[in-house]
């Protein structure tokens, strides 16, 4: 029994039994991750009629996505997995979207703010590039790709984890997928007198 958590867009959780989705929750508020994460998890456990002890692994969306919110779901998933001493799987949210849109060449993009996009290309759901931060002017280079712009959620993250397990993919990296360095540069002391 898999608990999936994703806070790359809204706050969502899901319980899957193999391929079967038992329950799903989604809170849209893009700034309410910390507030909603507990209810999202609690709801899916209740709806699926399973106890925390019946969960055998946790899948978490590791982005790329706005990191403040993303980290809330990741921390909750890691906390849950540590507490139950069960495996945690890290799912790149772009990969989860590619799996949901399997046919042919696709370009999955997700708003990276500051007029940029997080992007990755796939052929029949198999990645053909590393994820990167794209300037939208590059989009014209991908005319031959079908573009996917939807946001991710816990169901898709969960489905990818199930698919990965069946196909022997390694999801042991549970760190956030940062594609930018923290927004700072070391500062020099400023003069105070003229």
């Amino acid at each position: 029994m898999l608990l999936a958590i994703d806070t790359s867009a809204g706050t969502s959780a899901a319980v899957l039994d193999g391929e079967k989705l038992l329950s799903y929750s989604f809170f849209e508020d893009p700034f309410g991750h910390a507030e909603n994460i507990g209810m999202a998890i609690s709801q899916v456990l209740n709806e699926a009629g399973v106890s925390a002890a019946q969960i055998t692994s946790v899948a978490i969306g590791r982005g790329p996505a706005p990191y403040t919110g993303l980290r809330v779901g990741m921390a909750a998933g890691l906390g849950f997995a540590t507490a139950r001493n069960i495996a945690a799987f890290g799912v790149i949210t772009l990969d989860a979207l590619a799996l949901a849109n399997p046919d042919g060449k696709i370009l999955v993009t997700f708003d990276a703010k500051r007029k940029e996009l997080f992007a990755r290309t796939y052929l029949d759901s198999v990645a053909t590039s590393d994820p990167w931060v794209m300037n939208p002017v590059e989009l014209e280079n991908f005319d031959d790709h079908r573009r996917i712009t939807q946001s991710c959620n816990a169901e898709l993250v969960g489905r990818f984890a199930v698919y990965a397990a069946a196909n022997g993919l390694d999801l042991s990296d549970v760190s956030a997928l940062y594609l930018r360095s923290p927004d700072v540069s070391p500062s020099a002391p400023k003069k105070v007198s003229g």
Binding site: R71, A76, L78, T82, R84
Partner: protein, 493 residues
């Protein structure tokens, strides 16, 4: 019938009952009087228009043990359950104080009392032969174990990822991961860097704390997490992890105030926080002067910094002098060789006009600017600056203003007790001057050990445990990060 706390003012009536009940071995009026006034004692009376029963408990702070000192109910009022009610009140108090066991002695020839204690869970552990004289009656020594709650606390308000575990007032583990080194190249805490570090550190720090405490998460009775004040992105990591942990084992969750946690850290040091007290919390993020009458219900913010925190002023001044981050230890080291009176730097918000409006507030921005001007002027004049003198003079100005205001607060509120907390408490000069000035003024100074002064998970666990022990309801699942959480919000519902 009403039970309430009694004191020396009830001595006469208590002695009347005492001498009637225990004709051969009653306490003297003198010893009963000092018991009723003792600070480590808790005496209660049962009132039925007048005092008809009394009982006392003694708890030496830090001993984790309470003793039932005495209990008596007037002959006319016996058999009405008053003795039991008094005992239950004392036991609740012992539990709230963090005691892990309660001891008592009882006359072997008093089956009613023995029966009462056994029904409350006491077990006989020893006999003292012919203890009660002149009657020559044995004393049975009885003991009740109190199971104090095990609470795991998570701290992630700034650059320290802390996971602490306590059982009642006892520290079991205090695991910490600091991202301070990662901030050093930026000269200060960078929120995004801190938040990233929290997520990376949370799982290892949790594992470390559980290992240190030698327990499994299933044994934890409650989870506590600091939900503010602090950096929002950093707080959210701790909150996410805490909710995940709580749901994984269906444990109650308590969202607690980080600053009040600093005050509560003292329970781990001494087994209790002596209240009321003035508390001065000084760190890189906070400079707050508090009046604490009750840790769980009555904390008042007397004043705080209106610009930079004291620790921030140390960091910025260090940078100005070409010293690395964090600035506090660097300035402390350099200042040892300097003259604190070399430069008279300003003491922020101490002029009469400022004191009217900002009696207990602090300001360090002007001080930092004054240091910068001093350095620039010297350089423009081609003078060689004496960095040690500047460091010592700057440090003196910070320490002076912090302690002057804190000690003023003690005197003005008539509370001769000062508790220090926060990372800046590591400053050698602050400790020295605090010790000296408090001694001069007859103020009791309390400084928890350093790893309980800086941000840590144990203090969050300790405050959570206080809430559990006091029977407070857990927080709901819906609380969020409150970067400017009000000090009066000790627990977020």
């Amino acid at each position: 019938m009403k039970i309430q706390q009694i004191g020396p003012e009830n001595l006469e009536r208590v002695m009347l009952l005492e001498t009637a009940l225990f004709p051969t071995d009653s306490w003297s009026e003198k010893s009963m009087g000092s018991e009723l006034a003792a600070s480590d004692g808790y005496y209660i009376g049962a009132f039925d228009s007048e005092l008809v029963g009394y009982a006392g408990l003694k708890t030496i702070p830090g001993s984790f043990l309470s003793d039932i000192q005495t209990i008596g109910v007037s002959v006319e009022s016996q058999g009405k359950g008053i003795g039991r009610a008094l005992m239950l009140d004392l036991l609740a108090r012992a539990k709230a104080l963090g005691s892990e066991a309660v001891m008592l002695e009882v006359r072997a020839d008093n089956p009613t009392a023995i029966g009462l204690y056994m029904s409350l869970g006491f077990e006989q552990i020893d006999v003292r032969k012919r203890y009660y004289q002149p009657d020559g009656v044995d004393a049975l020594i009885m003991r009740l174990e109190i199971k104090q709650p095990i609470v795991l606390g998570i701290e992630s308000t700034c650059d320290e990822t802390g996971v602490g575990i306590v059982r009642g007032n006892r520290l079991l583990a205090n695991a910490l991961h600091s991202s301070m080194d990662e901030h050093s190249k930026y000269g200060g805490v960078v929120p995004e860097v801190a938040a990233r570090a929290h997520l990376e550190a949370i799982q290892p720090t949790l594992d470390k704390a559980l290992k240190e405490a030698g327990i499994d998460l299933s044994e934890v009775d409650a989870i506590a997490v600091a939900n503010g004040p602090g950096l929002a992105g950093a707080l959210m990591v701790g909150i996410g992890a805490a909710k995940g942990l709580a749901l994984a084992h269906d444990k109650p969750l308590y969202a607690v105030n980080h600053l009040v946690g600093h005050v509560g850290a003292d329970v781990l040091e001494r087994g209790s926080v002596e209240l009321p007290t003035i508390a001065l919390l000084v760190s890189g993020g906070h400079t707050s002067l508090l009046l604490v009458r009750d840790l769980l219900s009555d904390v008042v913010l007397l004043g705080e910094t209106i610009d930079d925190a004291a620790g921030e002023a140390f960091d910025k001044t260090a940078r100005l002098l070409g010293l690395p981050y964090p600035g506090g230890p660097e300035i402390d080291m350099l200042a040892k060789a300097g003259d604190p009176k070399a430069v008279r730097f300003p003491r922020g918000l101490t002029l009469p006009k400022d004191m009217e409006k900002h009696r207990y507030d602090f300001s360090f921005s002007g001080l930092k600017t004054a240091v910068a001007r001093h350095v620039e002027k010297a350089e423009a004049n081609g003078e060689v600056i004496n960095k040690a003198d500047i460091a010592a003079s700057f440090r003196e100005a910070v320490v002076d203003v912090l302690l002057t205001k804190a000690i003023n607060a003690c005197q003005e509120f008539g509370l001769m007790r000062l508790l220090l907390g926060g990372g800046v408490v590591a400053n050698q000069r602050l400790r020295e001057v605090a010790t000296k000035r408090c001694a001069e003024q007859g103020i009791e100074l309390r400084i928890p050990r350093f790893d309980l002064c800086t941000d840590n998970g144990a203090m969050i666990a300790a405050l959570g445990a206080q809430l559990v022990m006091a029977g407070k309801s857990p927080s709901g699942l819906g609380f969020g990060a409150e970067s400017t959480l009000d000090i009066r919000q000790i627990q977020t519902p």
